[in-house]
Each structure stands twice: as structure tokens, then as C-alpha cells.
């Protein structure tokens, strides 16, 4: 695997790593690391350096829902136009085309369940081409992006071994 991939994976795991730390870990010079990251940003491979937050432990009230959306593909554009339209809303955190019984999976965030229900009824469902929606509220997150929100599996190793 290339050094470029190494850098992507390192940042994906921990976006707070400094250029210097990345250079130590990969064995590249700091300038090479800077160059590669700059290129990756320009190519829109690296889009944003964000943090995985367990909102439940903060004072902010957050409710998330996964919404299954069935749509009619549009002439010449397939699913893209509607998907992008749905994505315009600030409440919408992710939109993905998926295989199976429905077409789009949309993740929506709001302060309360009611707020999300209203968003679906008044904004999402009325969009032209949207045939149906099914809303699933997320009740508890166990794992996201490879990280456990609960205590998860612990290190079972003895603390000191030969």
C-alpha cells in the first residue's frame, strides 16, 4: 500500500495527528507529508477533519433517525437529482443510494422526535418524486466508525506477560 494510503488511514483514525507525528509514523519527511496532504485536500479525497462525539454525554439534545425513502428516478438523472435535493437540508446528515427494498437511506438530526417527524412530513415527503418514507429513530448507538460508544470489548490481556 502506498504512503498516501497510510496517511489517509492515519488521519481517518485520528485527525489530530500533526504533520510531524505522521512523518515519524510513516518514515516520510515532514515536507513530504505536507505535500501529500495538500494534494489530497485539493483532490477532495480529504474533505473535513471531524470528531466523533457521543452527544448523549453532552448537554446538547440530539435525536437522529434513519429514513428509508422510495423515489421515482427522473428522466436522464436517475436518482441523483432527488438525492442532492434532499441533501440540501441542514437537518440531513447523510444521504446514500442503497440496494434492496427502497432507494435512499437518509440520516436526519433534530432536537426532538417531534421535530424530525415534522421535518419528514412537511419537507421530505412532499418532494416531487418521493413515493414513500419510513422513519426509524435511533434509540442507542453501540458503535460508529469503528468506535464503541458503550464500553465495548476490553483489553483482556494480562497486564504484564513475558
Amino acid at each position: 500500500m502506498s504512503k498516501k494510503m497510510d496517511i489517509i488511514e492515519l488521519l481517518h483514525e485520528n485527525s489530530r495527528l500533526t504533520d510531524k507525528q505522521i512523518s515519524i509514523i510513516t518514515g516520510l519527511s515532514e515536507d513530504e507529508v505536507k505535500d501529500i496532504i495538500k494534494n489530497l485536500e485539493e483532490e477532495k479525497v480529504l474533505l473535513k477533519y471531524s470528531t466523533l462525539v457521543n452527544w448523549e454525554k453532552t448537554e446538547r439534545e440530539v435525536v437522529r433517525a434513519l429514513i428509508d425513502v422510495r423515489i421515482t428516478p427522473q428522466q436522464g438523472q436517475g436518482f441523483n437529482a432527488i438525492a442532492e435535493r434532499i441533501g440540501q437540508y441542514e437537518e440531513v446528515k447523510s444521504v446514500s443510494l442503497i440496494s434492496g427494498g427502497y432507494d435512499l437511506s437518509v440520516e436526519v438530526e433534530g432536537k426532538t422526535m417531534k421535530e424530525i417527524a415534522i421535518f419528514v412530513a412537511e419537507r421530505l415527503a412532499p418532494i416531487d418524486g418521493v413515493l414513500s418514507t419510513t422513519t426509524h429513530f435511533i434509540l442507542k448507538r453501540y458503535k460508529q466508525d469503528g468506535v464503541f460508544f458503550t464500553d465495548g470489548p476490553e483489553d483482556n490481556r494480562l497486564v504484564v506477560t513475558p
Partner: protein, 388 residues
């Protein structure tokens, strides 16, 4: 204890393990970050675990032949050829053991008569000397030094050979130093080994975890296969410590002798582990490579971290340990480790647990995520500021 009078002298005389002592200290502390572990932080790759489950599902729960499943021996023969250019016949020259641990014991027991001397380079893995003593042999330490990259030099070797010397333990890549012996280093001691008619017990359990070129086995040098008992296993590279699976490759005569002991003391390695081992060899190259690369990244990171704090730190080329010097603190390894544990709740292993010559060093494992290593380094730095 009244039982004491019943215990054999030989067992009584084995000194308590330095690691064990430290372990007891650590177990009584809370909230510690441990960098003291000698096993991978990865779980066994899924393909291998799945095979273990399937074997049980099929109801395959019997003994195997003493030497182990032929399919596994064939796989190991293929692996040794493929990775190290070694030729071992799977029918006659390979046997499966319960970890490299059993292999160490078998090799020593098949070779040693009362009073035979075995050369043990130190610092090294904790079990060689006790196993030699249990066999009524005599361990003769060969100190290796940082200025020689912790390898055995021809001069070191010569200086310890007597007419009682029967064998040499060759523990590379090394636990705890992380040293490796390259082809030219092995070639430099080869003639002495042959001249004195020594048998080499080569513990190559970390062979796949080598970060500077490919591992070279001493058995691949001309004239050495016939006097080498090669030990290896699945614990480290395949992250399979709990499966207890290892193997020995050697000339038929040695295998036969070791199998004599093995058949009475062990019968065979667990069948589930043996089947899983076949999968490990044929289907997990990619997993191994990924783990190796992750260790390598951590290695660079932790060595740099210790050096920036101000430690002199030998650059390890294999296994998953660093062995920084703490000599300039003026503390002994034991004092250093106990204080680090008490004051900053970090567990590392005192170097003297790995034999004479280990004092003045600590063993720090990097079988931990970079995140964890970073947190530990912060505490170690705070500690170092107090004592440097």
C-alpha cells in the same frame, strides 16, 4: 509451607520469575496504562477464528497423530520454503507443538545430559534458563551488548564455549531487545558453531515481525540445517497466543527423539488450533502484513517518543518491544519500574527480568494502539522530568 519438603530440589531452586514479581505489584494497582504485555493487541484474524468454530461444528474433537495433522505440517513446510527458502520434509522433519514454549522444552530435553552446557544470549526470553535447569543442564549466559546491536559476536561466542557446551540458543528477533541477526551476522558465527560441533536451538517465533528486510534463518546457511532445531509458532505473527500452537522443524533424528517425549507428555496440540493453523498459513498473508505494518508504524513512533523525552533508545528491528536505556537516571531497572508504576501508573518490565545484562534497561511493548502509546508517553515524559 509444609508442602515444601516434598517439592524437588530442582524446582525449589528455580528462582522466581522477575516478571511474575512485577506482575503481582501491577495487579494490585488500579487505572494503570500497561506497556508490559508480550502478546499482540489484535484478535486472531476472523478467517482463523471461523475455522476454529467450524471444526467444533463438525464435531472434530479428537486427538491427532503425535506429530500433528499432516495437512498442517505440509502447510508449514510450504510456509518455511516460501518465506525463508528452507526445505523441510513435512512427513519426517516437522512436528506440531503446544506453542513455541513446548518446543523450547522438547529441544532441550532431547539434547541435554546432566551437566551439559547451553549458551544463552542475554537479555532474552525468560524461559530458556529455567527449562535448561529443569533438564539438569547448565545455562551459560552470553551477554550481548547495545554497542554491538545486541547480537552475538564471534568473540562473545568463543569466550563462553567449553568442552561441555552442547548447544546454543539463538533468540532472534529478540524479546526483549528487538534485535535481529542479519545474514552476515549469522555467517560470522557459523564456523565457530560447526567447529565446536554445537547444536543451534533457533527460536524464530518473531520471524514474521521483522522491519528491516526479510528474516533470515540460520538453518538456511550451508551446513547448518543438520545442526539446527528451528522453533516457531503462531502466537505472535498470527495473533494466536491463546490457541497454543507452535512447531519444530529439524532433521528427522531430532524430530523422532522429541516426538518420543511429546507423545508421553502432551500427545498432541489441540485439534481445533491445528486446523485453524492451516487456514492461517494459506489464507491470512494479508492480515499478517497489515499487522506487521501497524507494528512498524508504532515502532517508529514510540522509539522517537522515548528519544525526544531524552532516553537513549536502541533501534529495534524486530518483535514488538523497545529496550530503552535508563542508565543515566542512576536508578536500577526495578526502582525505575516501581516508581513509574507508583507515580504515573505506567507498567513496563524491568530489563533485569530478562537475565544478566538487562539491568539499566526497561522493556516497553508496542503491542498497543498509537493513541494509547501517546497517552503513556505523556506520563513517561512527566516522570522523566523529575528524574533526569
Amino acid at each position: 509451607m509444609i508442602e515444601d519438603k516434598y517439592i524437588s530440589d530442582i524446582v525449589k531452586n528455580i528462582p522466581p520469575s522477575g516478571i511474575r514479581k512485577f506482575f503481582d505489584l501491577v495487579t494490585n494497582s488500579r487505572d494503570i496504562i500497561s506497556l508490559g504485555v508480550g502478546e499482540p493487541d489484535f484478535v486472531t484474524p476472523w478467517t482463523i477464528r471461523k475455522e476454529g468454530i467450524d471444526v467444533l461444528d463438525r464435531g472434530t474433537t479428537t486427538y491427532t497423530s503425535n506429530l500433528g495433522l499432516f495437512e498442517l505440517r505440509k502447510a508449514i513446510s510450504f510456509f518455511l520454503k516460501n518465506h525463508y527458502d528452507l526445505d523441510y520434509n513435512p512427513e519426517r522433519e516437522i512436528m506440531i507443538t503446544v506453542g513455541a514454549s513446548e518446543a523450547i522444552d522438547l529441544a532441550l530435553r532431547c539434547l541435554l545430559n546432566n551437566g551439559d552446557e547451553v549458551l544463552v544470549p542475554v537479555p532474552s526470553y525468560v524461559s530458556y534458563a529455567p527449562c535448561i535447569e529443569l533438564t539438569r543442564g547448565v545455562p551459560v549466559y552470553v551477554p550481548t551488548e547495545e554497542k554491538n546491536n545486541f547480537i552475538i559476536t564471534p568473540a562473545d561466542l568463543k569466550s563462553k564455549i567449553t568442552n561441555k557446551t552442547k548447544a546454543l540458543i539463538l533468540p532472534y528477533p529478540n524479546n526483549p531487545t528487538g534485535a535481529i541477526m542479519k545474514k552476515e551476522d549469522l555467517e560470522a558465527i557459523k564456523d565457530i558453531i560447526i567447529e565446536h560441533d554445537l547444536i543451534v536451538i533457533s527460536d524464530e517465533i518473531y520471524s514474521e515481525l521483522t522491519y528491516d528486510g526479510k528474516h533470515v534463518s540460520i538453518a538456511s546457511l550451508p551446513g547448518m540445517k543438520e545442526r539446527t532445531i528451528l522453533l516457531n509458532g503462531f502466537s505472535k505473527a498470527f495473533a494466536m497466543t491463546g490457541w497454543r500452537l507452535g512447531y519444530i522443524a529439524a532433521e528427522h533424528g531430532f524430530i523422532e527423539a522429541m516426538n518420543k517425549i511429546h507423545q508421553y507428555t502432551t500427545i498432541c496440540a489441540p485439534i481445533m488450533a491445528q486446523y485453524a493453523g492451516i487456514k492461517a498459513i494459506y489464507e491470512c498473508e494479508e492480515d499478517i502484513e497489515k499487522m506487521r505494518k501497524t507494528y512498524d508504524q508504532r515502532r517508529r513512533f514510540i522509539v522517537n517518543g522515548f528519544r525526544e523525552i531524552g532516553f537513549d533508545c536502541f533501534e529495534p528491528k524486530g518483535a514488538f518491544y523497545i529496550f530503552p536505556s535508563i542508565k543515566k537516571t542512576g536508578l536500577t531497572s526495578q526502582e525505575f519500574c516501581e516508581r513509574l508504576l507508583k507515580e504515573e501508573k505506567i507498567a513496563v518490565v524491568p530489563g533485569d527480568a530478562f537475565g544478566p545484562g538487562g539491568d539499566g534497561y526497561i522493556r516497553v511493548s508496542y503491542a498497543y494502539s498509537i493513541d494509547k502509546i501517546m497517552k503513556a508517553l505523556e506520563r513517561i515524559e512527566r516522570f522523566a522530568k523529575k528524574i533526569f
